[in-house]
């Protein structure tokens, strides 16, 4: 067997991330005390360099025998994944130092997980998708249980691992069936495969596998517990990167390769999509824990993003990409505000902990309000254009009623997002909650808030950037 041709120039971003991951591990192992600031710098620099290279490389080319492709979809989704990673590293800054979690391993795992996200975005082969998904997920399992002294974190890690592994089996079995039906794992080749029961079943199983990762109803049950238990910066990172990866794969499979066969699943996908939006938002109404609230909110947002996949058209794919970017900024921002606080030396993860924040730090309270407004999808923020995009895609594809359910679900969501904002702006500050702050977290917050506002006020350039996805699919 001859090795396929390899063009390493195409995978410079991945190599940079890998290099940074290894370096940070080594530096962590050989520095005497835990929590050396160099670790952060290396990780952040690695992510930033990878982002820069991704943007510089642009589009064009395939490598590893056609398993890896660098097209517009790769460019856009990798950029989103790397922005997420960079923000997550910066956001983690002081928290991991405070809680003595900071170590080479932490950043290594984070970067490797990001690497998995990059690979999923660039895969044009089912095996590559599987590989990317595992590279993405396994570090996340470890990170969820990273707070070794915290029972909740242990539980979260275990739960995530078991359910994640279970879902991977579905994915793998689905891939096997598709291979059996189409005779190939290459997405390009599969596009010409004739429909068959085997292929149909295979696609269904792959959808289930990816649905677990993206946390859509009814495969969402793990999310609230895992989100609640994992250390907060991990929750923040995980809630975004897993979705970026999963939806990248969704886009690859549903819109590029198997669009014709995928449409047979449209009814099922519609049900999943609507159920996710409705249940995610309704369940979030009753939460008192911020992490659980954001967990259900992330489920709900997965439903909105799924509208883009469901539409199966160019504007749908673009909508998915734009939504992911907006979602990354606003979710990381919301977690970032909570990361600035501490209750009795613990995470301030109850909504009540935010009470009266406005009288202590008006800027933090304003930032939280901004992120909540954006999550609710009101104008002048990123969340509005994200929703506008997916609903346009839905109407383009004739799914008017899905769009109507979607807008009504986002009205429901306004209730709990505004509740968080209201608590932040009013009430008495709690004595046991203190603002611990930190320059890194603050920097990430500023970046996220600026991003949310820019995407809400002048999204023109980003829209053009993201629309390349559509052009990639139109070919």
């Amino acid at each position: 067997m001859t090795l396929p041709s390899v063009d390493l120039r195409l995978v410079v971003p991945e190599l940079l991330l890998t290099g940074a991951a290894i370096l940070v591990l080594l530096v962590g192992a050989f520095t005497p005390r835990a929590g050396h600031p160099a670790l952060r710098w290396i990780a952040a620099a690695g992510a930033a360099a990878a982002l820069w290279q991704t943007l510089r490389l642009g589009t064009g080319g395939a490598s590893f025998g056609g398993m890896y492709v660098r097209d517009a979809l790769t460019l856009v989704l990798q950029s989103i994944a790397l922005v997420t990673t960079l923000l997550a590293v910066v956001l983690s800054g002081e928290y991991v130092q405070r809680t003595r979690l900071e170590s080479g391993e932490y950043y290594t795992l984070l970067l490797v997980s990001a690497l998995g996200g990059l690979l999923m975005a660039a895969s044009s082969d089912l095996l590559m998708i599987f590989l990317g998904l595992e590279t993405l997920s396994i570090p996340l399992y470890v990170m969820a249980g990273f707070a070794r002294s915290d029972v909740r974190s242990q539980e979260a890690g275990m739960k995530y691992f078991l359910l994640g592994a279970f879902s991977t089996v579905f994915l793998l079995y689905g891939i096997a069936l598709i291979y059996g039906a189409g005779g190939s794992t290459n997405l390009g080749t599969l596009a010409a495969a004739s429909p068959s029961l085997l292929l149909f079943t295979g696609i269904g199983l792959v959808t289930i596998g990816l649905g677990f990762k993206a946390a859509v109803v009814p495969f969402h049950a793990w999310a609230p517990d895992v989100y609640e238990g994992a250390p907060m910066p991990v929750t923040a990172f995980m809630s975004v990167i897993a979705k970026v990866g999963a939806f990248a794969a969704f886009l690859r499979i549903s819109s590029v390769a198997l669009s014709a066969q995928f449409s047979q699943w449209a009814t099922a996908l519609t049900v999943i999509c609507v159920a996710t939006m409705v249940l995610g938002n309704l369940a979030a109404l009753r939460q008192t824990n911020l992490k659980r609230l954001l967990a259900y909110s992330s489920i709900a947002h997965a439903g909105f993003i799924l509208i883009g996949i469901l539409s199966g058209n160019i504007s749908g794919a673009t909508a998915v990409a734009f939504y992911l970017l907006a979602y990354a900024l606003m979710t990381l921002g919301a977690f970032g505000v909570a990361l600035m606080l501490q209750r009795d030396g613990q995470e301030a993860d109850e909504i009540a902990d935010l009470s009266g924040l406005a009288s202590r730090s008006p800027i933090l309270a304003a930032a939280m309000t901004l992120f909540m407004i954006s999550l609710a999808g009101l104008p002048l923020t990123a969340g509005f254009f994200a929703k506008l995009y997916v609903f346009t895609a839905a109407l383009d594809a004739g799914y008017a009623w899905v769009a109507i359910v979607g807008v009504l679900a986002s009205v429901v969501s306004a209730y709990y997002y505004f509740r968080v904002a209201y608590v932040t702006l009013t009430g008495q500050p709690r004595d046991d909650v203190v603002i611990v702050g930190g320059r890194w977290t603050r920097a990430a917050l500023v970046a996220a808030a600026a991003g949310v506002l820019i995407l809400g006020l002048a999204p023109g350039r980003f829209v053009t950037f993201v629309q390349q996805v559509g052009q990639a699919l139109a070919k």
Binding site: F384, L388, I404, V407, L408, F418, V463
Partner: protein, 545 residues
Amino acid sequence: MLTALIFVPAAGAVLTLLLPRGRESTVRWTGMLSSATALVIATIVFVQFESGTAAVQFAERAAWIPALGITYHIGVDGISLPLVVLTAVMMPIALLSSWRSVTDRVREFTFSMLLLETALLGTFVSLDLILFFVFWEAVLIPMYLIIGLWGGPRRAYAAIKFILFTMTGSALMLVAIIFLYVHSGTVLPARTFDLMQLLDIRVGMPLQAWLFAAFALAFAIKVPVWPLHTWLPDAHVEAPTAGSVILAAVLLKMGTYGFLRVLLPLFPEATLRFAPVLVILAIVGIIYGGLVSWVQPDMKRLVAMSSVSHLGLVTLGAFALTVEGLQGSLVQMVNHGISTGGLFLLVGVLYDRTHSRQMDDYGGVAALMPQFAAVSLIVVVSSMALPSTNGFVGEFLVLLGAFRAQPAYAAVAVAGVILSAVYLLWMYQRVMQGPVAVKALALDPSGASGAGPVRMIDLSPRELLTFVPLIALIFAIGLYPSPLLSRTEASVRALVVRVDEARGHAETGFGLRASGFATPIHDSQFTIHEFRVTSHESRVTRGLR
């Protein structure tokens, strides 16, 4: 010009954030100056506005998000002009009224108010549906904050109820907007959200009815049209005075403005078909609002419910689909802003002194506060639409328009006019006249009220100043409405022509009689009717005593 108008308040809002801490009076003055600047610009626009043409004036157009066909397209015509000016007039008054009553977080309050002004002005001048929607929704956030942070005891409930009601309506409106956008791609060369281009499209009937319904629901919740009004009393009662003033004077007009700006021109066939439904709801609202106001012991709630009644009249005028009706509807929007804004200010003045809004806690206030009583009387008669006040002009035109469309409508609606005299005069009588009896709630922060009598000081110069422009406008519009009417007439005519064309298209005719084209409006006509209605109304009022 208009861009400056919209963003001057926003710039002022940003400026308040940059000011150093603890400079409350500087913050107040910044707010006042920026809203006053906006008022100056709005006045210039009003003066320079050319009447006699239905064209959009002061238009500005720039690409915003070209990839999605979203433009920054603004401009004013005869329909938006009065509301732009109304907004610009009411905001400095509202800020002035909160000079003493809002002492907590002045910076945030001023910031919210100015942002609110930007959003409101933006809503009225937008000619791109997404821009319109963005401003429309942007109104919610500052208003939510104003109710939720500076409101009464049940403010959290009232604020979220306000948000959820309006968002439900606007969510469906968003779907309708996108639907139009997608649909425009099949007719026009490129998809667009531009209202002026969308006017060239004639959407087919079943679809047009659905789109009409979605937009109408959003607007009707905002107005609010009965039976969608339930958020209104809560929001009004809990909001601080300045918030109530803006809410009543301007926010509610977003809905009725939407009727004229979007529903009538974009969906004329559907308008013709569903106008009777809206007219009937409006009439029910007029009567219901009047009856409920009648039995309110709480003055603020009374004024709030009277809004439901008055805006029913505005809606009636809009869907009478005659020139008089529409003009009356527009004038009545402005009038309601002035009079009801004034009424809320009056309640605010009393509340500042006693912290009570219950009518039973007052009596004979006129003896203690003679100036206040005089001002109140003027505002009350304006709200009752007595001739020579502004209310008369609008109400008369609406009823005339409604009469031309369907005499029965006007006949029932007149009952609402009588009711408004009942509850307003009754309120005036109970509060102002009779033996002096003022109770105060223990709520008074100074603690003075618990034991001793409350000091009912007459209007301070600042308070008087808030009423001066309102009273001036009440008489200006009441006695010489032609600057306002002449500027709106061309646009209104164009609107009626557009709807009438549709009537030609759908020859079946849906219950509404021919429009009142034959009679152009002359100011001289008013004088004739004035006396008749005066004597009629005074009979009514005398009958009540």
